[in-house]
Symmetry: C2
């Protein structure tokens, strides 16, 4: 069995392949009746152009610019590189090259500096984590002017045209709430924000809203939802005080990957009646999960996010596929027993 080719169609229509090509690409210069006839024929046999042949001419190496936070500054980003490498090795036969730029996640200046450096490599497409709202917005507009296709992940910049890959953070807050509710005794809950500047605030605000909404929706819930912001350095002492002040606490929800700080406090103070839910599969979090100090982790799957971003961009370049405007990953619930398969390469 053979696939239909342009030549076959030309023969069927009694014209030359040049005319078929003109019809397919709406290049004009085709007699109306011939055009209609060919279009009908194409529809009838459901013609699918051979992507392999279509891309044969294109033997350039595509440059992919990658602009993400430096894993040395925050280990959360380590696994992203694995996801990118996975995508790269899957598509390495299609001629793509990476230009990776790592910026300091605490410095907008460094973000802009690395962006400039990346643009110097004249990327065809860009994969980025837009940590800083204002700066990222400007940068994205610049890309648009340059007509560079972008994929963003992890942080959603609202009202932007960039294609985004990530999670529904509001809903993930609700998931955390449901988990804490199902494992805790009746009592108060606390939302703990650790080590986050205002710049990243959208993140934690969304999660906080979702978390609260779950308990507000509950009928007959009598506990109180507390909130506690901790800063780098004094976080564990401050949390200790917070726990002492609220003896009726039954659950903690840490809104980012730093749940291990809270876990340390709970462990040293042997408060095993306080349940703990956090985010992300950092080694230290996993250790506490296995010991039972952390009860659940929500997996934001940064690796998969980065992988998908790369995949979308490459398939866009090579096969002219459309990149979805928004791609939300499922919210993975992790406990001590199902953590291992999620750590696979």
């Amino acid at each position: 069995m053979k696939k239909y080719t342009i030549k076959d169609i030309a023969q069927l229509a009694g014209v030359s392949k040049g005319t078929i090509d003109r019809v397919i690409h709406n290049r004009g210069n085709v007699a109306k009746d011939v055009e209609d006839k060919v279009k009908q024929l194409l529809a009838d046999i459901n013609y699918q152009p051979n992507l392999i042949a279509r891309n044969l001419k294109n033997n350039k190496i595509y440059e992919i610019g990658v602009l993400i936070p430096d894993p040395e500054k925050d280990p959360y980003w380590e696994v992203c590189m694995d996801g990118i490498d996975n995508a790269l090795s899957e598509f390495n036969a299609f001629g793509v090259r990476l230009n990776t730029f790592l910026y300091d996640p605490t410095s907008t200046a460094d973000f802009l500096k690395n962006n400039e450096a990346m643009l110097k490599t004249t990327p065809d497409v860009i994969l980025m984590v837009p940590l800083f709202y204002k700066e990222a917005k400007g940068v994205l507009e610049h890309y648009k002017l340059l007509n560079i296709q972008v994929c963003t992940f992890n942080n959603q910049i609202t009202a932007s045209t960039a294609n985004f890959i990530g999670q529904d953070l509001y809903q993930s807050g609700r998931v955390a709430a449901k988990l804490l509710h199902s494992i805790s005794d009746v009592g108060d809950m606390a939302i703990i924000h650790i080590d986050e500047q205002y710049k990243n605030a959208v993140h934690m605000q969304e999660k906080e809203k979702g978390f609260k909404s779950y308990f507000y929706d509950l009928e007959g819930y009598e506990g109180v939802i507390l909130k506690c912001k901790l800063k780098h350095g004094d976080s564990e002492d401050k949390l200790s005080l917070f726990l002492a002040k609220h003896p009726n606490l039954k659950g903690l929800f840490v809104t980012n990957s730093k749940a291990y700080h809270a876990a340390r406090v709970l462990q040293t103070e042997t408060k095993s009646h306080i349940k703990l839910v956090g985010y992300d599969l950092l080694t230290e979090n996993i250790n506490h999960l296995k010991k039972g100090v952390i009860d659940f982790l929500i997996h934001q799957n940064p690796k998969q996010q980065a992988y998908l971003g790369m995949k979308f961009l490459i398939e866009h370049l090579v096969f002219e596929k459309q990149i979805p405007e928004q791609f939300l990953l499922p919210i993975d619930i992790i406990n001590s027993e199902n953590v291992t398969p999620f750590l696979r390469p």
Copy 2:
């Protein structure tokens, strides 16, 4: 920037592209010194052949045989077709055709009959669910003789050469145990097998083993692990009796997608102190999950399994990619709050 082509390498080595081709494919008839030199060169520049050009000649339509249980007989299989369709539409430009055969999951004869029918379509590769151990083993051996590449999913036939996609069932039993342990009061646990013939027994046995192992590993656990087998028709009455007989029950683990049967019983008897964990996102299960009668579902992701099987097979045909011997999906934990994103198309 250009990619290295055979022509480039020929020029670099000072020979013709024919010779390069002979070296790459070990076709012989190349002088030893030239061969060494070219091989060195290939390694130095890390030559990657252009897969697009390599496959250009191949304009045949590949026939993919699909042999899976009939969703009309068991709704668990409904979503498989979606996964297959997804893969198909992703790769439809590469010329693949599907020949789907649905067999009655309760009849080995029907399985064999449909297998015969499928083989009549002379498939190039086969995707199948090997429900029945003995029959599937014979069928797989037959495929091997015919030199047909196979992907199996959902059920692992041990000691077979077929490429398998699925989950670690032992571990998923442990996950269920951990979940029940974290949400239940201290008391007895029961493993409920519903509607399964001995033929599918490997399934439930593995899950049962995992479930038990979790509690046996626990230090100081005082509850009892009970077991209850239910058959079609009388399952709900029998479960009712079982619950009455064991007043100290605190958790139920249903080892397949039929947790909704148990949920109905718990609901009518208003035994909300008994927690319930089951498998799979059937509509009825989800309804009970949202009402809070089922506490957690473990998602076996049959849709993703089928999708991956198709993807592996097509990439094998089109790009000569290796199919992994075994591909284990992560064990997804689902509660009422994170269920929605998992239902997406």
